[in-house]
Symmetry: C2
Subunit: 390 residues, 2 copies
DNA sequence: GACTCTTGGAGAAACGTATCTTCAGACCGG
DNA sequence: CCGGTCTGAAGATACGTTTCTCCAAGAGTC
C-alpha cells in the first residue's frame, strides 16, 4: 500500500461528508495531485486529453479549490480593502453621501472585472479585524494626515492607493480632483452670471477636499478684493447644514450667490432662500457640489459640480491592482531568477525611485442649470481638464 | 544543532526582509511556537509572565499572524459575502436605492461589531471570483426563485441568510418586511384621508417585494370593490418611472390618491401632478416607499413608508453569524470528540428539523406628512407590528 | 518514598494547495 | 547501439498557523 493510497484511505473513512479536495479528484481521476493542479490551472505540460478528463472529474465531484489554501500558498487573496472615513458617532459615512456610494460602486465593479473583490472596512474598525484579513492591497478614502493605519499597511508591504491627495502618509499612488481649479471655475461662472458677492458653505473638518476648496475660495476673494462670506459646519451633520445655510442668508452682508461644498446644501439653501423671500436665480445664484440628480428636478433646477466619483473609483482600483500585480511579478523575477548574488541588493518593495508618490488629477464636471444663470437656462459641460501626472 | 535552530537559520539567511512569522517570535522569545500561539490567543495554560513577555516580543517584531494560514487551519475566514441584485446593464444596483445603501451600511457595521467583515459580491459576478474567496457565510438580497448561486452555496455548506423571503431556494434563514400588511396599512390610511380611488405605481420585475405589494393592492381592490388603477414599469430605470407617473395621472380614470412602490416615485408623481395642475394633497393624496429624507423637504412634504433597512441589515447579519458560529461549534464537537462511533450518524449540516427555514418579519414605519392628509399635517408613527417567527 | 495532580511547555500533525525537482520512457540522429 | 532531447507525470516540500498529544518537574498526599 502506497503512502498516497493510505492517506486517501484514511481521509475517506474518518470524514465522510466533507467537501471534495484536490486529493479526491486526483484519486478519482487516477492521476497525481500535481496533475490535477496543473490541469485545472492551465499550467504544466499535459495533453489536452488528460486536461479535459481531470476537469470533468473535478466537475463531477463538485470540486472547489480552497481559497484559504491557495492564498496561503500563492500569497494572493484576490481581496482589496476599501477604507471609508468615519465621522462622529456613526460607524461610518459610507453611502452617507452619494459620492461615496457611486465611488464604491465603481470601485467594486472595476475590481470584479479584474478578478478582485472588495472588503468594506471602516477606518475605525478594530485592529484585529484588519489584521485578520488577507488583503492584497487597500483603497483608502481621504486619509487624514499621518494616518497610522495607512502607514502600517504601507510599511508592511501592502500597496495603498488613496482617493484624495494624502497629507503626510506614504501611499503607493493617489487620485484626486483638481479641487482648486473646480472652485475657481465655479466662482468665475458665478461672476459671469452677474454675482457681486459670492458666499461659501463649507465644512469644519480638515479633510483635503474641504481644506483645498476653502483655501481656493479665500485665495480668490483675496485676489478679487471681495470680503469672504462663509459659514462652516460639521459636514456629517445634516441638521447643522440647514442651520448654516440659514445663517449664511441671514447675514447683514448677505451674498447674492452661494456655492455649497456638500451634497444636501442645495436643498437647504433653496429652503432658506424661500424663507427669506429670495428668488433663485433672480436674487440668489446657487451652485452646490453633488452627485445626486434630484437637483435636475428641484424648483428651480440647481447647478451642480460633479466630482465624477465613478471615474475616480475605477482609476483608484486600477492603479491599485497594477501595483499589486506589478510588485509581485517584479520581485518574483528578481529574487527567483538570480540566486545568491542578488542578496547584495535586496529587492526594495515600491521604494525604487524615492520621491513623491505618483498622483493623478481627474477632471470635474460642472452641470449648469437654471439656478446659476440669470438668462435662459442651457445645459453645458465644462471642457474636461487634462488629467496629468504630478 | 536542533532541527528548530536549523530551520530558523535557513529562514533567516535565505529571506531577509520578509515579515516576521510566528517562528521568529518564538525564537526571539526563547519559547516554542505553541507557546507563542497560546500566549497570543489567550489559550493554553501559561503564567501571566510568559504571556506578557511573548506579547511584548511579538509587538516589538511587528508580528502579524497570517490571515491565510489561520483561515486554512481553523476553517474560518471572518468574511461574509453580501450579494446584491443585478438589474439590467449596470453592474449592480448596490446603493442605487437608499434602501440598499442603508441596509449595507447597517450590515457592515453589525458584522464588524462581531469581528466579521463584508465582501461585496454582485450576484452576476464571475463564478471564479466567488469560489476564490473563503466565505464563512453569505447575505443575499432578494434572491430570485431557484437562484443557482444560493443553491450551490447552501449545498456546499455555507450558511445563507436572505433579505427578502426567498422563493424556492433553500436558505438558512430569512428576514423580510410584512409587505402585505404595509400596503394594506397605507391603503387604509389613504381611505381614511378621503381617497375614493387609489392608484398604484409598481414595477415589472418579479422580486418578492414588488410581487407581494402588488398582490396586496389587487386583493384589497377586489375586496373593497374598486377597479385597480396602476402602472408598472421597470424599476431600475428612473426615466421610465417618470413616464409611468405621468401616464398614471393622465388616465381617464385618474386616481385621487397614489402609492408609489419605489424611491423616486414621490418626486416624479409630484412633478406630474404639477404638470396636470393637481394640488397635493387637495386634489391628489401621495405616499411613496422611500428611505430618503428629501421628502421631508419637498413642497409639500410627502408621506413615506420606511422598510427600516437598518434593522433588517442588522438582523440579517446577526442571524447569519449565529448560524456560522452555531454550525461550527456543533459539528466540531460531534466530529472531533466522538471518534469512530459517530460515523453511524453523520452530522448533518443545518438540516436537523427539515422544514421551512425560519423567517422573521420586521415592522415597517409609515411617516405621515402633508401629502396624505387633507387636514392639518401632523406627524405620527404607526405602532410597530409585532415581529414574529413564521 | 511511591503515588497522583497540576503546571508549564515542547513536538508534530494537520489544513489544502502550488510548484520545484525528479524521473521514466519515447523518440531521434548519428 | 548510445547519448541527448522532449513529453507526461509523480514526489516532496513549503506556505504559517492551530491544536492535539505528550512529557518533565514540582507539589501535595497517604
Amino acid at each position: 500500500m502506497t503512502a498516497a493510497a493510505n492517506q486517501s484511505g484514511r481521509r475517506s473513512t474518518s470524514r465522510r461528508l466533507e467537501r471534495a479536495g484536490i486529493r479526491d479528484v486526483a484519486a478519482a481521476a487516477g492521476v497525481s495531485i500535481t496533475t490535477v493542479s496543473d490541469a485545472l490551472n492551465g499550467k504544466g505540460r499535459l495533453p489536452d486529453e488528460t486536461r479535459s478528463r481531470v476537469r470533468e472529474v473535478a466537475e463531477r465531484l463538485g470540486y472547489r479549490p480552497s481559497a484559504a489554501a491557495r492564498t496561503l500558498r500563492t500569497g494572493r487573496s484576490g481581496l482589496i480593502g476599501l477604507t471609508v472615513t468615519t465621522y462622529g458617532e456613526e460607524p461610518f459615512t459610507f453611502t452617507e453621501f452619494a459620492y461615496f456610494a457611486e465611488m464604491a460602486r465603481a470601485a467594486t465593479s472595476a475590481a470584479l472585472g479584474r478578478g478582485f473583490a472588495l472588503v468594506v472596512l471602516p477606518a475605525s474598525s478594530r485592529h484585529d479585524v484588519w489584521s485578520n484579513i488577507a488583503l492584497d492591497g487597500t483603497v483608502v478614502i481621504d486619509p487624514p494626515d499621518q494616518d497610522p493605519l495607512v502607514t502600517e499597511l504601507y510599511r508592511s508591504g501592502v500597496p495603498v492607493v488613496s482617493d484624495g491627495k494624502p497629507g503626510n502618509c506614504p501611499v503607493t499612488a493617489w487620485v484626486d480632483n483638481d479641487h482648486e481649479a473646480a472652485v475657481l471655475d465655479i466662482l468665475e461662472h458665478l461672476s459671469e452670471a452677474g454675482a457681486r458677492r459670492i458666499g461659501l458653505l463649507t465644512g469644519t473638518s480638515t479633510d483635503t477636499y474641504t481644506r483645498l476648496s476653502t483655501e481656493a475660495y479665500l485665495g480668490w476673494c483675496h485676489r478679487v478684493g471681495q470680503e469672504p462670506v462663509y459659514e462652516a459646519y460639521p459636514a456629517h451633520d445634516p441638521a447643522a447644514g440647514a442651520v448654516a445655510a440659514d445663517r449664511l442668508l441671514a447675514r447683514p452682508d448677505r451674498p447674492d450667490a452661494v456655492y455649497g461644498l456638500f451634497d444636501p446644501n442645495g436643498t437647504d439653501l433653496l429652503a432658506a432662500a424661500r424663507r427669506y423671500g429670495l428668488r433663485v436665480p433672480d436674487d440668489l445664484l446657487l451652485v452646490c457640489c453633488s452627485e445626486s440628480d434630484v437637483y435636475a428636478g428641484t424648483e428651480p433646477p440647481i447647478t451642480t459640480l460633479s466630482l465624477k466619483p465613478r471615474k475616480i473609483g475605477t482609476t483608484v482600483v486600477n492603479l491599485l491592482i497594477d501595483a499589486i500585480e506589478g510588485v509581485d511579478s517584479g520581485t518574483g523575477a528578481a529574487a527567483g531568477g538570480r540566486g545568491e548574488g542578488a542578496r547584495l541588493f535586496p529587492p526594495r518593495f515600491r521604494t525604487a525611485g524615492t520621491g513623491p508618490p505618483p498622483g493623478t488629477l481627474m477632471p470635474t464636471e460642472l452641470i449648469v442649470r437654471a439656478s446659476s444663470q440669470r438668462r435662459s437656462p442651457r445645459r453645458t459641460v465644462s471642457p474636461p481638464r487634462t488629467p496629468g501626472k504630478v
